[in-house]
């Protein structure tokens, strides 16, 4: 039994395994089949100041080695999120830290939803700022691919909340390190990466787009090498905690991210394939550490940055 506990931006977590935003709903949906008290943390689906229908259907399609999605951040809006028993009141009972993912179409929207959550912060461990969704027409990735806008969003949120901030970065940039530095300088306590890769799939028989939004985010195992590389590069740029994600399906995948410099990992698409994978990954990391005589999971974080010839 290795020590899996971590301190992530001041948040005490029993292990480094987190659910990725959008893949685990608001935790209640999976509570019958996933023991929430085993998880490091849960990240809930993106919340905006206003209710959002999201995109038309079809919203998902399977592709080789992964899937595309363009849900479009459907959510009940901050009022209902705070008051409805299925959302924040439920999340306050969840036996692990809760990260609330937030988004907006304008910088003011981000600040508005963050301020509302600051006033209701009991049971919220951190805010994850989504500046990287590829599937909405306004905001989203537009903020995450412009250094100044990315910093402006983070600063606006920083000004209205004392909660730890995790900024979720887009893979759709040339120099990820610049974005990592930019959001950390603006006040982000940690970063998470990568969001999905903007993608497209076409049905050649019907000459139609497989996703109604046409452009959709690629996730799943095929994404993993890109994500590992970007976590590695982000770790070279900043010292804050990193939540690494992108195609993690196994404990071995998770350990790759940790070695590349992630302090914690998030699991997304793999939950759709196998909800049981969350516990399997946690137990698998533990077993791997035991097998290698490593007493503490923190001891493998970023080892690939140490004196490699």
């Amino acid at each position: 039994m290795a020590d899996l506990s971590i301190n992530f931006a001041g948040i005490a977590m029993r292990n480094p395994v987190v659910t990725a935003s959008g893949a685990f709903g608001y935790a209640k949906e999976y509570s019958n089949v996933v023991p929430l008290n085993r998880l490091g943390a849960v990240t809930v689906k993106g919340v905006s100041p206003f209710p959002s229908h999201g995109n038309p259907v079809p919203r998902t399609t399977e592709v080789y080695g992964g899937m595309l999605n363009a849900i479009g951040l459907q959510n009940p809006g901050i009022d209902k999120f705070i008051s409805d028993e299925n959302y924040l009141p439920y999340l306050r009972q969840v036996p692990c830290p809760v990260f609330v993912n937030i988004w907006g179409k304008t910088i003011e929207h981000y600040a508005e939803v963050a301020a509302r959550l600051e006033a209701e912060k009991k049971g919220i461990a951190a805010l994850e700022i989504n500046i990287s969704c590829p599937n909405i027409k306004e905001g989203g990735i537009a903020f995450g691919t412009d250094l100044k806008l990315a910093a402006a969003v983070v600063k606006a949120v920083r000004d209205v909340t004392t909660l730890p901030l995790i900024t979720k970065l887009s893979p759709n940039v040339t120099h990820i390190g610049d974005f990592a530095r930019s959001v950390v300088d603006a006040g982000s306590d940690a970063i998470s990466l990568i969001n999905t890769l903007p993608s497209m799939a076409i049905d050649i028989e019907t000459r139609s787009f497989r996703i109604a939004n046409r452009i959709a985010g690629l996730s799943g195992p095929g994404l993993k090498p890109v994500a590992v590389r970007m976590v590695f590069q982000a770790r070279e740029a900043v010292t804050v905690p990193i939540l690494g994600m992108g195609g993690i399906y196994s404990a071995a995948d998770a350990i790759e991210f940790l070695m590349a410099g992630a302090n914690a990992v998030a699991i997304g698409t793999a939950i759709f394939s196998n909800p049981g994978c969350l516990v399997e990954i946690i137990d698998g990391i533990d077993a791997w550490l035991d097998r290698h005589g490593i007493a503490n999971v923190n001891n493998i974080v970023g080892v690939m940055h140490q004196a490699q010839a």
Binding site: H53, G54, R59, Y64, G65, M67, Q74, G276
Partner: protein, 263 residues
Amino acid sequence: MLEQYQISAPILHNQQLHGDYYQLDITAPAIARAAQPGQFIHVQLPAMPDHVLRRPFSIYDVNPTDGRLSIIYKVVGKGTEHISVLKPGTKLDILGPLGRGFSPLPGDIPSVIAAGGYGCAATFLLAKRARVLPTVLLGGRSAGDILLQDAYESLGCQVLVATDDGSAGAKGLVTELLERVLYEAPNSWIAACGPTPMLKAVGMIAESRKLNAEISLDRVMCCGMGACFACVIKRKANTPEKWAYARACSDGPVFKANDIWWD
């Protein structure tokens, strides 16, 4: 709280019914005991790690005593093609029972089940557990698309068949049979499963006659648990647009026809 399980379920039988239609029986005791008519299971494709999404199948029949659970499926793509060659003893990773199923059929008024194609699998348990047997209407393109007629008849149901080409039963649509049944029994309760245009037509018939109808809607699903919002359908709501997206997997797949916002 709903009872839901993720279990490893061995295949008992996996056999072709006819054409592209197959019946799969598995041993899944916890799910078989908890299953309600109209619910579904979500099946991981074994040994296909590059296919990341599960496949949903309506629960056709269960035996709570020996834990057997059956589905009917049609080979329509790589996933179902792969399932069709799996041998008894192979273990399938199953989530279930998922979704909201049908209300029990009423005991005080007649009821009618209208099913298109293998939609008849989703309504079988409903008929099996009915206090008063429903009339069952089966529709399909041709005789090869009519399934489970014997199974429904062995429950004691009267079964009427319609095919587009007239190769079995009446030539025409299952909704024409429905109109005919409602002429004889105008206060019937309706339950339906099949292609969306058929369900929309059922909904229109029910609305015009002020009848209760419950329909099971089939959508491309992703998580199956209500978490991802991939499988949404428009449901009437108190919004500026007069609709909001509901999840087929967890708010449905069975909805009151009158609640659906048809585009």
